[in-house]
């Protein structure tokens, strides 16, 4: 742990508890006085937003589970029962379904922030790896959750993705049968997916604790990519970043609320309002939007095993970023060439998403293949080479300098403006 805590419990009860289990001190040092770089911008608020969304999904999920029946002949009807009969059931269902989309939106922004500012570089590699684990857990959670309403897309999406495991040589079919608990996706599959869907978010919560622990060893990265040197470079988490995160959360919730109350089915597939029919496949099987880029990569390789491997590789390769990117400069703000390739990568990811939503025909196939090539080229070729050949801009010596630019350090003033010499007003 850190040096002596500055936490002083005030009441007798607080003192009693602190001497037996220093929770107060832990919360104080982690979320009250913890020093954050003073130049953090709003791209840094998405971690807090994700924590809130995890809590929101767990709360709405637990409450929905009080009314849902995980049995293949009853599941679809139980969802309609929730929508029509349960008090505020429509609100809980829409909040949970759109909440999953909001979770992934915040997650992708959070990850792209990390990629742009080099937050994955030393000494934050383990933090990054915990993040990749969280991404994988979120993918699994959303996948199992989407099966539960037992609509056409629930059933056929589950069938397509679980069938991928049969691509594994020798043991593929056995593994797939084991996963299904039968010879096709059926009630056995639904039951176990319900169990896993309830379990995984709590695994996510546990890894989030590890993620924050790893973060707090060295503190947050910042837009300049220059590590903090003195107390002048930082501000205490409360009130500066609690308020900033709170404001960003409110804006995010307004955006979330617009979906829940005005266009609650915009992000979902109409076919999922048709009950699952194992004997009739929908014309176009489309996963939820947050899977589309990986779905496009899967379909762009004309081999079953190759496509599966490419899709998994596309997710797992993110874990290797700290070692693939050879540049010693963290932030893209000082890497002009990297910026170009980064935004091309963002465009590539978005376009891959679009390709994933379209039928795999004609021009879409060619485009998806080109984009898939760029996706892997970015990680395996461009990033390693850039570190060697790029000429970065000169870095500011400290965060203070980055914030103040030419005006110099004299005006940098106190570490904490609120404790300065201003009177009441």
């Amino acid at each position: 742990m850190r040096a002596e805590s500055t936490y002083v419990p005030k009441s007798r009860l607080a003192k009693w508890l602190e001497s037996r289990l220093p929770v107060g001190g832990l919360i104080h040092s982690s979320f009250v006085v913890f020093p954050n770089p003073r130049n953090l911008n709003y791209w840094w608020t998405f971690g807090g937003i994700l924590s809130f969304m995890l809590a929101a999904q767990i709360v709405t999920g637990v409450v929905l589970a009080m009314h849902y029946t995980p049995q293949s002949s009853l599941a679809f009807a139980s969802i309609e029962h929730i929508m029509r009969d349960v008090n505020y059931g429509w609100l809980l269902r829409y909040a949970h379904a759109n909440g999953a989309s909001m979770f992934f939106l915040a997650l992708y922004i959070h990850m792209f922030r990390g990629m742009y500012y080099g937050s994955y570089k030393a000494p934050r590699e383990v933090l990054w790896l915990f993040g990749v684990i969280l991404f994988l857990l979120a993918i699994a959670t959303a996948f199992t959750g989407y099966v539960l309403p037992w609509g056409q897309m629930s059933f056929w999406g589950a069938t397509v993705i679980t069938s991928l495991f049969s691509a594994i040589p020798w043991v593929g079919d056995s593994i797939t049968t084991w996963l299904w608990g039968g010879y096709a996706v059926d009630n056995a599959t639904l039951n176990r997916f319900f169990s896993l869907h309830y379990l995984l978010p709590f695994m996510i919560a546990g890894v989030v604790v590890l993620h924050i622990w790893a973060l707090h060893v060295h503190g947050s990265n910042n837009p300049a990519g220059v590590e903090k040197k003195t107390a002048k470079d930082t501000l205490p988490f409360h009130p500066y970043f609690t308020v900033k995160d709170g404001f960003a959360l409110v804006c995010f919730l307004a955006f979330f609320a617009w979906f829940v109350f005005y266009v609650p089915n915009y992000l979902s597939n109409a076919d999922n309002y048709i009950e699952a029919n194992p004997l009739l496949t929908p014309v176009h099987i489309v996963p939820e939007w947050y899977y589309l880029p990986f779905y496009a990569i899967l379909r762009s390789i004309p081999s079953k095993l190759g496509g599966t491997a490419a899709m998994f590789a596309a997710v797992v390769i993110i874990a290797f970023l700290p070692w693939l990117d050879t540049s010693k400069v963290k932030s893209a703000a000082y890497r002009p060439l990297y910026q170009i390739f980064f935004w091309l990568f963002v465009a590539c990811a978005v376009l891959l998403g679009y390709m994933g939503s379209q039928p795999p025909e004609g021009g879409y196939v060619i485009a998806a293949r080109v984009l898939t090539v760029y996706y892997f080229l970015y990680f395996l070729v461009i990033l390693p080479l850039l570190g060697r050949f790029e000429k970065p801009r000169p870095l500011p010596p400290t965060i203070c300098d980055a914030v103040l630019g030419k005006r110099g350090q004299a005006a940098a003033a106190d570490a904490n403006p609120l404790q300065a010499h201003e009177p009441g007003q």
Partner: protein
Amino acid sequence: MAANTIAEEPNRRDLLFAATGAMGAVGAGFAAWPLIDQMSPDATTLAAATADVDIAHIAEGQIVTVKWRGKPIFISHRAAKEIEAARAVPLSELRDPATDESRVQKPEWLILIGICTHLGCVPLKNDGPYKGGYFCPCHGSVYDASGRVRYGPAPYNLALPPYTFASDTKVTIG
């Protein structure tokens, strides 16, 4: 934390903090309400809150069981002799004193919740030492033709559900 200057009067910042806190509390209340209310009985359960029963075909001396709010309801078409016998009992003999008149709206129709007041078993109808009475096989409680407890471990008479006669041949329970 915030500025630790001690102001004589509340200033603008204090007002802003208080107003934000109040808005936050109101917002939290609105957000929490659906999460709490979803556990209250839903529309399907509320729809089953009343049960309409056609009593035209219940013969005299016959006791019929219907389900209401998950509980068994005994509807007894009492014969004149049973009613007389029930009304002749002195209240001092009863563990849970109640007149037969107070337990019915129409004397020939006795409507009871068929759950033994001892530990919750469903008693047998038209059973036990009293004609038109009830006997609970779990621990031997005996009820008379008015559903009042006479022997056995049960502390109270069989309970009465709320009901109204929609017509001479239809009763609405609940």
